[in-house]
């Protein structure tokens, strides 16, 4: 009588084949067009920042899991994504210690102390970026960062220029075509608008990002910018400058839809995206910051649990006995 040792487990016995590894790998693949463009535009320093950022984020996670005696989890690539995204948001001239501090803040403060993957209430990349931006404002000033570069386009940060001089004064400096094709000063991976859109559409089509969040985010940006622009065209820039400069598109497709800190139900997703866009524009136009993307999305992360309670009624709930 042969007695095979069979695998016994619970239903379902099928799986659609998705895993955290494929999810994160695809996020990184989608970021590639923008990353490659950034490397071409900003050269070797950009490569250095990205490599250090990605690797140090993974090392931080590995070290912490080792110290806390937990199972190593870097193979799910979650910290790699955090590192890559953080690197993409830094200027190519960022010093090495800034990068390492940033990944520490993002991975350890932003993710691990809340309980690791899936437990972070805020987008870890944004936690890292927010602390860096508030602590070392001058190092993250993109106008100052690229003084030694020689660009064949306006070497001014569009949003800062709009804020300083008003929309009318800079209206000829930033043609839409240039902004879309990445001919602008900014972070390594966030200037190439077209690349970000292609990456974002790839993620949406493949089902790794829920379309509701990027779409409503962009609607929020465009709608609010248009309102401001119509109210005072001399002072406030039009929707296209806001959409294609700063971290806007990166925020729409890569930061706002971060799984753990964004809603999952349809109406909350639409509210989340729209309000994020709205807050960002309020910060840019009324607040003191040039680009409110980082803080705007963090603010919406904060209210995410609240808005995600808007959900359909479950089957058979609230039904009286027939």
């Amino acid at each position: 009588m042969n007695n095979n040792k069979l695998i016994v487990s619970h239903a379902p016995f099928w799986h659609d084949g998705d895993s955290l590894f494929t999810l994160n790998l695809n996020l990184m693949i989608a970021a590639l067009p923008a990353v490659i463009f950034g490397l071409v535009q900003f050269g070797m320093p950009a490569l250095g920042v990205l490599a250090l950022s990605l690797s140090s984020a993974m090392v931080w996670e590995y070290v912490i899991t080792l110290l806390s005696g937990k199972k190593a989890s870097i193979h799910d690539l979650d910290s790699a994504v955090i590192g890559l995204f953080l690197g993409m948001m830094l200027p190519a001239t960022a010093p090495w210690w800034l990068v390492i501090t940033g990944t520490f803040l993002a991975v350890v403060i932003g993710k691990i102390i809340f309980g690791g993957i899936g437990a972070n209430p805020f987008n870890p990349t944004l936690i890292g970026m927010a602390i860096l931006a508030l602590s070392w404002t001058t190092l993250l000033d993109f106008d100052a960062a690229y003084v030694n570069y020689d660009f064949d386009f306006t070497a001014l940060v569009p949003l800062a220029a709009v804020k300083a001089k008003g929309a009318l004064a800079v209206s000829d400096l930033f043609p839409l075509n240039d902004l879309m094709m990445g001919k602008q000063v900014g972070a390594i991976g966030t200037t190439f608008g077209l690349g970000l859109v292609i990456g974002g559409i790839y993620l949406i089509l493949r089902g790794f990002v829920r379309w509701e969040i990027p779409v409503s985010f962009i609607i929020g940006i465009v709608f609010t910018a248009l309102c401001f622009n119509l109210a005072n065209p001399d002072k406030y820039a039009g929707p296209m400058i806001h959409l294609f400069s700063g971290y806007t598109l990166f925020g729409a497709f890569f930061l706002a839809p971060e799984n753990s800190s964004s809603p999952v139900n349809r109406i909350p997703m639409l509210i989340f995206g729209f309000c994020a866009g709205l807050i960002i524009l309020l910060m840019r136009n009324i607040g003191v910051y040039e680009d409110g993307t980082v803080l705007g999305i963090l603010l919406l992360n904060l209210v995410n649990p609240l808005i995600d309670t808007i959900r359909p009624k479950a089957l058979g709930k609230g039904v009286n006995h027939a």
Binding site: L6, H15, L205
Partner: protein
Amino acid sequence: MIKRSFFALTRPRLGYDMPEPDPKEPKAIPVPSNLILLLHDPLDDARETFIKKGDKVEKGGKLHLYKDSKEYTISPVAGTIKIIDTYSDDFGNTSTYLVINTDQGLTAGTDDVQYELKDTIASADEYLRTLPGAPPLKTLADPDIKIDTIVITCADPDLLSTTHQYMALKFMDGIKEGIGVLKRITNVRKFCITVPENLNIKDEIDLAQVFRTSMIYPANLPQMILKDHLNMVLPAGKTPEDMGICFMSAEAVVSLARAYKTKAACHEKVLTIIGKQGTPYRVTAVIGTPLRRIFNAFSIHVNDHDRLVIGGPMKGFSTYTVHHPVQPDTDTVIVQDRDNIPELSDNPCVNCGKCVRICPAHIPVNILVRYLEAGLYQDAADRYDLLSCIECGLCAYVCTARIPIYQYIRLGKHELLKLNADA
């Protein structure tokens, strides 16, 4: 295994399988020398059993574990009881298994024991509970449960299986006859029949209301049929039987008709066997046949670390032995190669929301699973709709973090029942 498509803008759609248009006769598995029967009655060491090792049994004879047992099983062969021992299922519920050594000569030569079947449900329940297809006679005969509608399922509830559809294609006359019998022996007046919308049934079905069901999983699960076709939403935590609706497989109806015609039990169960490459085979085997016999007949080799799934890929259960017997309700057996077994993990939920979007019952699975992981079953039921779950398994199928969500849900419901029973 159906993997996600490359583009996945919409949620995945899992289609039910169809039988071939003109199905061949199933391959008949010869009666094996040893049969294994399960009796849903736990063995009590302190009491003397009514049946004993070495007892002779008749073909069609009724077997009780104890003199006053309500549960029984029917021996499909003439032979001798070789072993009586305890069997425990995946939730730790114990029952008893009997191994019966077949007397081949006597089995082939004799007819089944004739029953004195009267036209009452109690009489049917006395002899016919273990017919192929497992007719829910116990429920129908229970005076405390008022059933007013019987839904006959010609649509297989789980994926890959085509057993019910095969019965509908081949034995529509038997089904009609069975409805006649049910009308005679029960007080039920409303009969419905589910037929997959793509299944080409030539006969006119006038005895029952016909529901053409969708080919997309989970449309054939009882709760979905109630919702889609009977316009009835099952209150959370209730069963269809609580609402007066009883589901019965096509095969059960056919065997009931046969049993009333011959006044004896029939024992041949129709099964869909899915081999390692996904090849379907249809067989008939006597209830109690160890699965190994069937695999041998098709040269399916079961190796270490393979998985044997009884029932479909979404709702079935896996067994730890190739000697597991064919049971009255075993419609499908799937052999999964060790290389095709998807890996599960202990990752926490990352809140990607795929489960929430695929859930047919609109349950906030992402929050529910956190409560279940923490063991807060009562909160899970009160606030996050644990009891609304229709147990389709789709959430665990799509889970990016590969959490065994369905297992958590089943465990949660089980523990909650225990909690409430103790209270």
